[in-house]
């Protein structure tokens, strides 16, 4: 681990990642949450991970954090293989890699004060002396825009937005260089969500943080990310620069995602209603299981190949797309 890291080098590197959960009780019944995912977060970069529920996006974050068992592939952090790192290694990793969860209510022990929650890792992981703990806690609270008095109060005394600031402060006290934001703003109301997004963007600038920003909301991801990775059924279907992926999606699933998200404009929305009906096949063909592309049953462009052969991710001018029909679709659009 170098002290003076160069910007742009890979910080988190996932290679051919597999995460499989075994269903409780039944032997052999396995859920493949993540299948063969390659993903790189460079130093100072924000990678947005988009997908619907069950797409495996949270499992990828958990795999990086060591919260789930990786069943295949590699997880590298700053050049070191951490795929099967021990608890002792994780203790060291936690100083560089932090997490902000979605639920600002559940992610803090209600019986501990905010100060106690923020101090936990400093005391029990870093083993800092009390005066340094105090200093770091107060500085982290200040960084997220909360008064020092917040340390003495319990989580119940704070609103959802304030709690999410506390959750961010808990990540910041460890002075990490990488934070996994697992749906970190999804539970927040619009006006508060904007506050927290601004805070995350500002922290990235001032501290050179890198984020893996997991969200189901393409517009939020578009705002904060440099690179967007789109997941469907545990696989990457599209990856590229944020503006390119969010404004000119190439994969039919990304197109559907974009078309389906309603915009706050009734006139534009009437136009989009027709578009979104074309973006998704009306009713998924029942009964037939796709051996190829997982999106084929819902894809309006699907052909026989899509059902039988899995499309490999291929590079098209800096955007990686896993789709058999890429050429025809882009030709049609042009």
């Amino acid at each position: 681990m170098t002290d003076q890291p160069a910007a742009g080098t890979a910080l988190l590197n996932l290679r051919d990642l597999d995460v499989t959960y075994r269903r409780a009780g039944r032997r052999g019944a396995a859920v493949h949450a993540v299948r063969g995912v390659d993903l790189t977060v460079h130093r100072g970069e924000t990678v947005g991970l988009v997908g619907e529920s069950g797409s495996g996006k949270s499992s990828i974050g958990s795999a990086a954090l060591g919260l789930v068992t990786v069943t295949g592939g590699r997880v590298e952090f700053d050049g070191a293989d951490i795929t099967r790192s021990s608890r002792a290694d994780r203790r060291l990793l936690a100083r560089r890699m932090q997490v902000v969860f979605q639920d600002p209510y559940g992610s803090m022990n209600p019986a501990h004060t905010v100060g106690d929650t923020l101090a936990e890792a400093l005391r029990h992981n870093l083993g800092l002396p009390a005066d340094q703990i105090q200093e770091r806690v107060l500085r982290a609270l200040d960084d997220v825009g909360l008064p020092p008095g917040a340390a003495r109060r319990y989580p119940a005394a704070f609103s959802g937005g304030q709690r999410q600031r506390i959750a961010i402060a808990r990540a910041l006290v460890m002075e990490p260089d990488f934070i996994v934001c697992d749906e970190a703003v999804s539970a927040l109301d619009l006006s508060v969500q904007a506050q927290v997004l601004n805070l995350l963007a500002q922290l990235k600038r001032t501290r050179g943080l890198s984020y893996l920003f997991i969200s189901h909301d393409l517009s939020v991801v578009r705002y904060l990310s440099d690179t967007i990775v789109v997941l469907y059924a545990g696989r990457v279907v599209e990856r590229g620069p944020a503006a390119q992926v969010a404004d000119h999606p190439a994969h039919p699933y990304t197109r559907a995602l974009l078309a389906a998200a309603p915009v706050p404009d009734p006139v534009a929305q009437r136009q989009r209603q027709t578009e979104r009906r074309h973006a998704l096949a009306a009713v998924p063909a029942a009964g037939r299981v796709s051996q190829g592309c997982a999106f084929a049953p819902r894809c309006p462009f699907a052909q026989e190949t899509c059902w039988t052969t899995r499309p490999e991710p291929t590079d098209h001018d800096g955007v990686t797309v896993a789709c058999h029909r890429y050429d025809q679709i882009t030709a049609e659009a042009a």
């Binding site: 992610s107 501990h112 106690d116 890792a121 105090q134 937005g161 508060v192 500002q202």
Partner: protein
């Protein structure tokens, strides 16, 4: 390790630490029990000094006599003083209880927590040994122990603790499994905190309530066991509560009184133990959850308190006779910390047949309370304190619960936010919708089943027959919401209220549900859509009311609303929508948060977050007024984009 300075900011404040005893003391039963147990313990420990007689001192002339001045609780068969024996006997009995509990807890608690937290082979070992031990008759084991250690009650009580430990471990294990899934435990793991620290800081305090209850039950069992051993003549020959019961039962014919002191002692001790542990458990649980809302029995008090509270008199406008639903001045109070508090105030809007009205706003602004009050489904203690709800010729605000029940489902349908949990997991989707059809139309079961299938087709469920035969957990979120919509339509309602119907769904599924609701509107059903999502609003609604901190702040046709918002809150909320965001530039956020109903300011509720606020906004409540030129109403004295238009002052 912690200096005094840190203690003040980082550690729990002093008042909170002492709060536990104080909160326990507020529970009378627990407080009295604690005092009684303390007294018993004290008297037992001091028996050598305060007991009037030696427990074994015999006075054959006074054998088996009732209470007297010399012997306050009478004497036993050899004329031994009952009071003194009770005091000394407590030492033996309570020592036995202590031994049992010490073994029980030191083995059971760590085993249970480690089994639950770590899982694996140790977990299986704990579960198997618990199964094994439940099959072993305790009394036989104790007989064996006592035959080895003759009349050694301590050995028997230790063996008893050993036998109970795996059962405790099993209970603690289940409680630990629940805590382990808590997000804050995951956060601690991600923070590199060791398991030992996590168990001590997060798991043990959470499961201590369960442990307390188990320990008190087992402690009571130990007292009874000690009694039983004494009764069987297997226990100690010294004075103990158990041996005193044995002595009394032998002489029950000649001196029934003898059973009273020891019997009372045992019963009162067990009772106090149970009450104390209940109180302790409740006090512990309060740290993890705020106390529940006051029960409805306080409704009368709440209503009276509210009637006394001064309130602004708002003259009600006439309801719109052409509207399907016309709400005027609706004000609702809910009990907050036992005090009835207005949570929505002066809400007015109209809805015409076949129209889709959006209610938009953030959490805590009163959207759902508004909707539930239309159907008389307010939470316990909730009360409509002012206003009218005219629907199809009657005022629902004053309707009796019977009349409301006829409207609910039949004339007004309800679609909830969480489609899967709004269905009963133990019935098939088809059965639930058919049941709703039967309730609303009174048709035969067969016709109801047929109608349910028709409804499933109407909400475009693929393969209606298969869905009808499915249980809720077998349905995807989108399918479950379609079933929910089918149920809402079962009574053929004129109005459907949808409370955030797509919030829990993926965006592609949301689009399908929105299309479905639009088709519903085309058939003439009016819809009230509650949402926080401007996109959903723009997709479906004709008109919208914007709510902020319990009040309607703006009402307008949707296109006018989103393109030229008049109220600063509407404008702020719209601009913070990330759809408008430019990467690299800060999002225009509205600073601060929605104030809770207890902290509504005098004057405009939005004043503390408003960029256009003036002193006049803080003086008195702002009235909603028509802005004719802008074709809307707004509750603002300085509306945005107001050109040549005067508001009410």
């Amino acid at each position: 390790m912690t200096s005094a300075a840190v203690k003040n900011t980082v550690r729990r404040p002093a008042s909170q630490r002492h709060g536990f005893a104080a909160r326990l003391a507020r529970k009378p039963a627990a407080a009295v029990s604690a005092g009684y147990l303390l007294l018993v313990l004290l008297v037992t420990l001091l028996a050598d000094w305060i007991a009037p007689y030696d427990p074994d001192a015999q006075d054959l002339t006074a054998a088996l006599s009732g209470p007297s001045g010399h012997h306050w609780l009478g004497t036993g068969e050899l004329g031994r003083d009952v009071l003194s024996r009770l005091m000394h006997g407590g030492q033996v009995t309570l020592l036995g209880v202590a031994i049992t509990l010490a073994v029980y807890l030191t083995l059971g608690v760590p085993a249970g927590m480690v089994a639950g937290y770590r899982g694996g082979w140790f977990d299986r070992l704990v579960l198997k040994s618990a199964d094994l031990i439940s099959a072993v008759p305790v009394i036989i084991v104790l007989l064996v122990v006592l035959s080895v250690f003759t009349s050694n009650e301590s050995a028997a009580m230790a063996a008893n603790g050993l036998l109970g430990a795996p059962l405790l471990a099993r209970v603690v294990r289940s409680a630990t499994l629940g805590v382990k899934e808590e997000l804050y435990v995951r956060a601690a793991v991600a923070n590199g905190i060791s398991d030992r620290v996590i168990i001590r800081r997060h798991v043990l305090p959470r499961v201590s309530g369960v442990i307390l209850v188990q320990a008190s039950v087992y402690g009571a069992y130990a007292v009874l066991l000690e009694t039983g051993l004494g009764f069987l003549g297997l226990g100690t020959t010294q004075a103990s509560w158990g041996s005193m019961i044995a002595e009394a039962s032998k002489n029950v014919g000649t001196d029934p009184w003898l059973l009273v002191p020891s019997g009372f002692m045992i019963i009162s001790f067990i009772l106090a133990l149970g009450l104390l542990s209940d109180g302790l458990r409740d006090t512990l649980a309060e740290r993890y959850a705020p106390p529940a809302d006051k029960p409805p029995s306080r409704r009368r008090a709440a209503r009276e308190a509210l009637a006394k509270a001064p309130k602004a008199v708002i003259p009600l406008a006439e309801p719109d006779k052409d509207a399907l639903l016309s709400v005027r001045g609706l004000t609702v109070a809910l009990p907050i910390d036992g005090t009835p508090t207005e949570v929505i105030r002066d809400v007015s809007f109209d809805l015409r047949a076949g129209e889709v009205l959006g209610i938009v706003g953030e959490t805590g602004c009163g959207k759902t309370v508004t909707a539930t009050s239309l159907l008389g489904m307010l939470p316990a203690g909730g009360e409509i304190t002012a206003g009218t709800i005219h629907f199809e010729g009657s005022d629902l605000a004053k309707a009796e619960s019977d009349a409301l029940r006829r409207v609910r489902g039949r004339r007004i349908g309800w679609i909830s936010q969480d489609p899967i949990s709004s269905l009963d997991p133990s019935f098939t989707a088809g059965a639930q919708v058919a049941e709703a059809v039967r309730v609303h139309t009174g048709c035969t079961r067969k016709a109801a089943r047929q109608r349910a299938l028709e409804l499933f087709e109407l909400v475009r469920l693929p393969d209606p027959a298969r869905v009808a035969a499915s249980y809720p957990h077998q349905l995807s979120g989108g399918m479950a919401q379609r079933v929910g919509i089918a149920a809402a339509l079962s009574g053929n309602p004129a109005l459907v209220i949808a409370d955030e119907p797509t919030t829990a769904l993926d965006v592609t599924v949301q689009a399908e549900i929105l299309d479905l609701l639009r088709d519903l509107q085309k058939t003439g059903t009016a819809v009230i859509l509650i949402t926080h999502d401007w996109g959903v609003l723009a997709d479906l609604c004709d008109r919208a009311v914007v709510m902020y901190a319990g009040e309607v702040v703006e009402e307008a046709e949707v296109t006018a609303l989103v393109t030229a918002p008049a109220h600063p809150y509407t404008a702020g909320l719209l601009s913070s929508d990330p759809h408008h965001a430019v990467p690299g530039e800060p999002l225009p956020a509205v600073e601060g948060a929605v104030p809770p109903p207890t902290q509504w300011p005098v004057g405009c509720h939005f004043q503390n977050r408003c960029p256009r606020v003036t002193d006049a906004c803080r003086e008195k409540p702002v009235v909603i007024s028509q802005l004719t030129a802008l074709e809307r109403s707004a509750r603002c004295i300085r509306p945005v984009e107001l050109i040549g238009e005067t508001a009410h002052d």
